[in-house]
Symmetry: C2
Subunit: 310 residues, 2 copies
């Protein structure tokens, strides 16, 4: 009998759903996330969409292994979500609730951790059992995969590496209330903020002066030889390399995978981060691979599907 599973990546605006056959994604689609009335329709909408797909394809109930879902908030091991601010949810046991509504077994994880699991399963970490995924987006997310399993943490804060302290001198507060988290420097907004500081403190000419720019613009300028942009990239990557070196003394992964919008900078980012990492890394882990994540926005669906297979 062919077995299918659903991998669901629930975001604040849309919910991505993938139908999988073991390791293979068969089809993917999206539904809007209805955050009205404290997000009370979200699980029913997901269940309806899954049911509709099952009917459309004429699948049988016993062919469905289960549903996996990544949600934007802290999740503890029993499948309970604690405060998904973006969805309007308080504390809910999603595993039980979506299980009741849909009639299928449901596995739940934090979205960043689940995406990390997806990357480690079928993406940049396919060859490894233990990886750390760092996602450089508007903020910084992350996930620790140890021997094929998510390290979720006692308070759902496993892999919250965007909030690892890297600059104790920072005066500006991070979104989390602390000062000097790596998210303040190496996220998309962090790169822009760092660039603005460099532009302010010198008169060095640069293609970045007198215009609006994004993290992509900064990396593009560095790639084109813009001296100030190169200094900015070096500064960002020094902080990121230092953070990866600290991570290595804790979980010592086989590989680090870097994903998210900023990672589209590609080789120039990898080269500078690797150089900084080697400078700060403990000798036993100095040669740990640093590579790009490869699944992009599908990582969450893959990881969610993977959870159902345990």
């Amino acid at each position: 009998m062919t077995k299918y599973e659903f991998g669901i990546d629930l975001g604040g605006t849309t919910c991505k759903i993938g139908l999988f056959q073991g390791e293979k994604m068969v089809e993917k689609w999206e539904i809007p996330t209805d955050t009205s009335e404290g997000g009370k329709n979200i699980l029913q909408d997901i269940s309806d969409s899954v049911r509709a797909k099952i009917n459309e394809r004429g699948l049988k109930g016993e062919e469905i292994v289960g549903l996996g879902i990544g949600v934007p908030g802290p999740v503890t091991d029993d499948g309970t979500v604690h405060n998904c601010v973006n969805l309007g949810w308080g504390t809910v046991n999603i595993s039980e609730k979506l299980g009741e509504i849909s009639g299928f077994a449901v596995k739940v994880g934090n979205d960043a951790n689940v995406a990390a699991l997806g990357e480690s399963w079928m993406g940049g970490g396919k060859d490894y059992n233990s990886v750390v995924v760092v996602t450089l987006g508007t903020g910084i997310g992350g996930g620790i995969i140890n021997n094929g399993r998510i390290v979720a943490g006692a308070h759902g804060a496993g892999g919250e590496i965007g909030h690892m302290l890297v600059n104790p001198e920072e005066e500006l507060a991070c979104n989390c209330g602390l000062h000097g988290c790596i998210e303040q420097y190496a996220s998309a907004t962090g790169v822009v903020r760092t660039a603005k500081r460099f532009l302010e403190k010198t008169d060095e000419p640069s293609a970045l002066r007198g215009r609006e720019f994004s993290a992509k613009t900064v990396f593009d300028a560095a790639r084109n030889g813009d001296k100030l942009a190169i200094l900015i990239v070096e500064d960002v990557c020094d902080k990121l390399g230092k953070t990866l070196a600290r991570l290595a003394t804790v979980v010592d992964p086989e590989a680090f995978l870097i994903g998210g919008g900023v990672s589209r900078a590609g080789q120039i980012l990898l080269d500078h981060v690797t150089e900084a990492y080697k400078k700060y890394a403990f000798h036993a882990c100095r040669d740990t691979k640093i590579a790009l994540a490869t699944l992009g926005n599908d990582a969450g669906m893959y990881g969610a599907a993977r959870m159902t297979l345990d």
Copy 2:
């Protein structure tokens, strides 16, 4: 049938051996570690000692679950030890070799990780599944226990938290070759070094002036109200608290356990580390328990015994 297991903690000078009955330590003893000729007699000596105990007590072979052993060097998941400098060993699969010599199933781990497992099983972590143990001795060792299992790392460097960078400005090199590792400040030698720096840079009167002193002396002086000693303790604990906060963003344990000689300072150490930790910790893990390890030098035997029970 009563089942027994042996928990072995192999050090560079002595080898501690414990006979256990499940969770209960029945008896413990020590044999010298013979490091002559590249440590080639060590495993035979251990096997002989275990066999002698079995005979002495009239135990039957089928009553023995197996042997667990913690060794002072990096160990990978297959039981291979990579360079135990203190023992004169290169790369050896201890699990296979001691298994052949003794005729029992053998589980192997790094000594610091195994001691952490012991603490999490029957010591300060008895009530928790996921703990981080930090051992403040001559150096700093550590171990990450996630859901009851050691995070050994891809290169045996899981829990090498003594070498997490805490002071990028440090000019003096750590034993590992890096600069500014937490071991340079919060180990027994690190506390003394920090104290000497404080004594040099001020004229403040202190009970520590003009005498030889140890880490214990520094904590004792602080407890007695010596102002400079209090500043030294605050500085050391600030760095340690910062390090624990960084650890929390990676594995988010239920509790941190502090052991080793320096931890005999007790409450004054816990109070200052907890205060610093709360200042730097990510909100979700701000209330994570920080407690003392309780098994002392027996932790390694307990953890080694625990490994045989999986």
